[in-house]
Amino acid sequence: MTTIEPTQRLGPGPSRTPTSQERVAYDACERNHQFFLANKWDLFDRHPEHWLLIYGDQTVEAFADPLDCIDRRDALEPDMQATVWIGTPDKPGIWIL
């Protein structure tokens, strides 16, 4: 392992209360995340393209090219972008970390 000491010790900052708009967007994103976690194998089976863009109220779009997925995300309205969860394939294999 390479060990590098940062030149400056960094850490947690103060808390801040999210705005109502941030809270709505956060909750929508979290719903889409939970939707992805609960359904990802079924979603990947149904959408073999495998890069899934989930936004708004569980709208799912699938892309073969991840860059198309990112471009589509970037083209969404800013409010909608905040609700995005992107799911990517979880393929068999052993991670060597």
Partner: protein
């Protein structure tokens, strides 16, 4: 007040190679505001540094990620342990946002390693399969509770020394 952040466990299907495994994850958001892209990162006490894997780096940085020349980029380092062999990466200061159990957001400033994709082309291969890692540079600020039965993952901000 001590801040506490809840993570979650996720199961990974290893096909016919091995039984599914459970691993602890935390959702973090990157950017100047807490409404930045949400990334699901593996809690990895074995990692020195917090590292962005290719999938999440592409999600976060868009096409510009694939244009980084890791041979000459400022902040270039070589890291071991992110996949097989050595991996080139660039270190970049970033804000990670966490939401505590009270619903308050707070950020953690870190130097994050952005790993070079290998192979270059996005897909379900190479280190594109490796998740982003929350390393000890972030975890050192928290006491960690990980339980496999029932699965739960909690980070609690350590009291100042």
């Amino acid at each position: 007040m001590t801040r506490r952040v809840e993570g979650h466990f996720q199961e990974h299907d290893r096909g016919n190679i091995a039984p599914p495994s459970l691993a602890p994850y935390l959702v973090v958001r990157f950017g100047p505001e807490p409404s930045g892209p949400a990334i699901e990162a593996l809690i990895d006490t074995g990692a020195d540094w917090t590292a962005l894997g290719p999938r999440d780096a592409l999600t976060l940085l868009g096409r510009s990620y694939l244009e980084i020349d890791f041979e000459v980029a400022p902040g270039r380092i070589v890291i071991a342990g992110f996949g097989q062999g050595d991996t080139d990466a660039v270190i970049s200061p970033m804000e990670l946002w966490l939401r505590d159990a009270e619903g308050e957001d707070f950020s953690v400033s870190l130097q994050v390693a952005i790993c070079e994709p290998s192979p270059r082309t996005p897909g379900p291969h190479g280190n594109w399969l490796i998740p982003s890692l929350l390393g000890r540079d972030l975890l050192e600020w928290f006491d960690r509770t990980l339980s496999y039965n029932p699965p739960s993952a909690t980070l609690t901000e350590s009291a100042p020394v």
